[in-house]
Amino acid sequence: MRAFATLYSRLDSTTKTNRKLGALRDYFSTAAPADAAWAVHFLVGRTLKRLINSRELQTWGAAAAGIPDWLFLECYSAVGDMAETLALLLPPPAESTPLPLHYWVEAVLARLGSLAEDEKRAALVNAWQSMDREQRLVWNKLITGGFRVGVSHKLVVRALAEAGGLPAATVAHRLMGDWTPSAEFFQQLLAKEGGTAEVSRPYPFFLAYPLEDPPESLGSITDWQCEWKWDGIRAQLLRRQGKTYLWSRGEELVTERFPEISEEAERLPEGTALDGEILAWKDGAVLPFALLQQRIGRKKLGPKILDDVPVALLTFDILEKEGQDVRAMPLSERRKYLAEILERLFLPRHILLSPMVEAASWEALAAAREGSRTRNVEGVMLKRLDSPYGVGRQRGPWWKWKINPHTVDAVLIYAQLGHGRRASLHTDYTFGVWHDGELVPFAKAYSGLTDEEIREVDRFVRNHTLERFGPVRRVEPTLVFEIAFEGIQKSTRHKSGIAVRFPRMARWRHDKKAEEADTLERLKGMIQETH
């Protein structure tokens, strides 16, 4: 595990992409395949089931460090990261284990779940005592399931591609779907030829950049295919060897979650891969995302929820036809294939063709886009008719042209300490709007401010606290921020009676006083506009 811990330190101690790439490449070129496989697993953000709860970790950690629980918690709140707190508090180690990563993961970590409490504790304490500080931090990250080290999926793919002398797209594809970290897997991953293709393996998703320039900069609209930008779950539907696989963009297999789609998919021809968006869909129209979210939240799908919130996959691309990868074909051709296949489905109800937005000019498209909100869509997608289906996010062939978010001016009323990079700074805020002369909390937001502004707000919070409830501080209601959000819904779970989607701070309104902030009535009015 030393080599992996060293990799972690190297990645953690630089902000430069090139140095990170170099560190990853060095590691993948030299590590044993059985270890490298696990390294890939963790680096691309896959986790193991959490095997120890934080209560156990706190109690055992405090005892191993020889301090009372209350002091352990004080330390945790100063550090903002459980794994790091433990690494800092534990007494200097007795030795530095030479055992490899796959040993610690497979023989210790993966077995923790099946152990009785005292055995579990003994295994953990033994691990701590066997590891130097560098290894301990990484180990703690693995057991808490919070392994993140600031490398993107794309960077890991690039490093693997360079280490194996392969095109990045090949590695990206081989990393998709369901795989088990093993020496064989890693060898296949970097194999020069073919590798054994997993029947369930999806293709990497092709993603669009937001359009920042006016659409006229894209040339003639006749070169472009325009579609609605749906607000649902991006998904890939596979029909291979008589089986159906529905993958979300987060590479989660969601086939069972959407039985309507899976059943209808049985009628698709063998060797088909479709790209689309899962939406809550009823009577030919999309329902708000919040309903889809409710459905996802259910453990069991009873007849009522299936009836209330039916779903459909609105498909907009085809990646595999009759077992052949067709991603290199131009979009205009792929669209024809897609339309043919859906036609042959005969009156499909849950696998539909995402319609094109017909517009003869950019002006006409802009006008259509203005109606996005009433249709419950986020805007429009622009795709070059001659574009192949690429890998990852690329500038040029595909663009998303979203409508502007809703905005309101709201007052900062509560603040809480952040975590990780933002530990010991107050970065988690709750905002209120006016109702009957009182500020009613309506949204929490964490992002949108610069580091400089965060420090300034933090100073304000510390000096203007009115009350403290544990980690939460109520502050003097004087700072006003413009809060942007995507959707707005009625909600019975929130005191304000509304719920907003993706709230963030668009800017700090230094020019506004608290009294000038918006009202709850104005927010409720926005719900009316939407539906």
């Binding site: 460090a65 002091l71 330390c75 100063a78 903002g80 933002r422 100073r459």
Partner: protein, 343 residues
């Protein structure tokens, strides 16, 4: 029972029987200063008393017209009803603990202190007392400093790595105290050392006081960028986000502070590397210092007051928090304000 030797007033920590303040935050008639950092040495008082070693740096902070009296470490001065003496705190050049005695009762105010070695100032001396006023900037058990030698090895390795790829090495550190401590520990055979103006003027004060530091060159507008590619440049933290860094060409930055022990703080700094070297005592240093004073009563100021007080109480001491306006909790912010006043 008579009134306590020291009490907290709006202007700061006050000794009624001696009619003086220790590190007051408002102008007063007589201020005893523990050290010359901005949150402890504020301008506007009618007269100041400082340890002899600290006069030069304090003069730099307060200006040419301030009335500053000097007292050598260990010498005793009678001030009205109390006996006062100053003792090395090991924090920076001229930093002092203030010992106040009245009829056999002894209080010691630590100011800021550290127990780790530092060739640029006299080491911390524990003073026996009944009441000890201690700082608690790093008063949590997560704070345990690595050996100084280890940190210098890291800095030297960083410097060499940067030289190999033709990058300048910029080390951001407090201009008063920290910068000189680093300077004194650097291996001058690796390459030339340059200083930002704020650091350079403090170096001069140190040299005037008789502290030997390796030779350094001031970065000026005329210095050619090529001069820096093998060099290490010492600069205050505030310089990191200023146009000043453009003079240096391409560089890799390191930040030196006790806070660098925590990953979150290190990543917020947006430097290539964080080096854990502090002017303050770590948790074991605080506890061993408190123990060495033999004090039965401990008053805890700036930093992690609540956990420190609770810990000491659980160990059987009488402990209380003392809310001063020294800027312990603001950590990084105070480092910035400190260096800004020097630039």
């Amino acid at each position: 029972m008579s009134a306590p030797l020291l009490t907290l007033t709006d202007a700061g920590l006050y000794c009624p029987d001696g009619d003086f303040f220790i590190d007051p935050w408002q102008p007063v008639s007589r201020a005893v200063i523990t050290h010359a950092h901005a949150d402890h040495a504020r301008p506007g008082s009618a007269s100041y008393l400082s340890a002899q070693d600290g006069v030069s740096v304090l003069r730099h902070r307060l200006g040419p017209y301030a009335q500053i009296d000097a007292l050598p470490y260990g010498d005793t001065q009678q001030i009205i009803g109390v006996r006062l003496s100053l003792h090395p705190a090991g924090h920076i050049l001229g930093s002092a603990q203030v010992r106040v005695e009245r009829g056999g009762e002894v209080w010691v105010v630590s100011g800021d202190y550290k127990t780790a070695p530092d060739p640029t100032c006299r080491p911390f001396e524990p003073i026996r007392c009944h009441t000890f006023v201690t700082e608690s900037t790093f008063g949590l058990p997560i704070y345990r400093w690595p050996a100084e030698q280890e940190i210098f090895e890291q800095i030297h390795a960083f410097w060499r790595e940067n030289q190999e790829v033709g990058l300048a090495t910029v080390i951001f550190a407090y201009s008063l105290g920290k910068a000189q401590r680093i300077l004194a520990g650097l291996d001058t055979s690796i390459g030339p050392i340059y200083c930002h103006g704020a650091v350079d003027s403090m170096n001069q004060r140190y040299r005037e006081t008789g502290i030997s530091l390796p030779p350094t060159t001031l970065v000026t507008e005329e210095t050619h960028k090529d001069a820096f590619c093998r060099a290490l440049i010492l600069a205050p933290p505030s310089a990191q986000r200023s146009p000043w860094t453009r003079r240096l060409g391409d560089y890799a930055g390191g930040f030196v502070s006790g806070w660098m022990l925590i990953r979150g703080a290190r990543r917020r700094r947006v430097v290539e590397r964080g080096f854990v070297l502090s002017d303050h005592a770590d948790w074991p240093g605080l506890l061993s210092s408190i123990e060495a004073t033999g004090a039965q009563r401990v008053l805890v100021t700036h930093g992690h007051i609540v956990p420190m007080v609770q810990w000491l109480r659980e160990k059987g001491l009488e402990a209380h928090g003392l809310q001063t306006r020294f800027e312990g909790e603001l950590d990084e912010v105070s480092e910035e304000s400190e260096s800004k006043t020097n630039v």
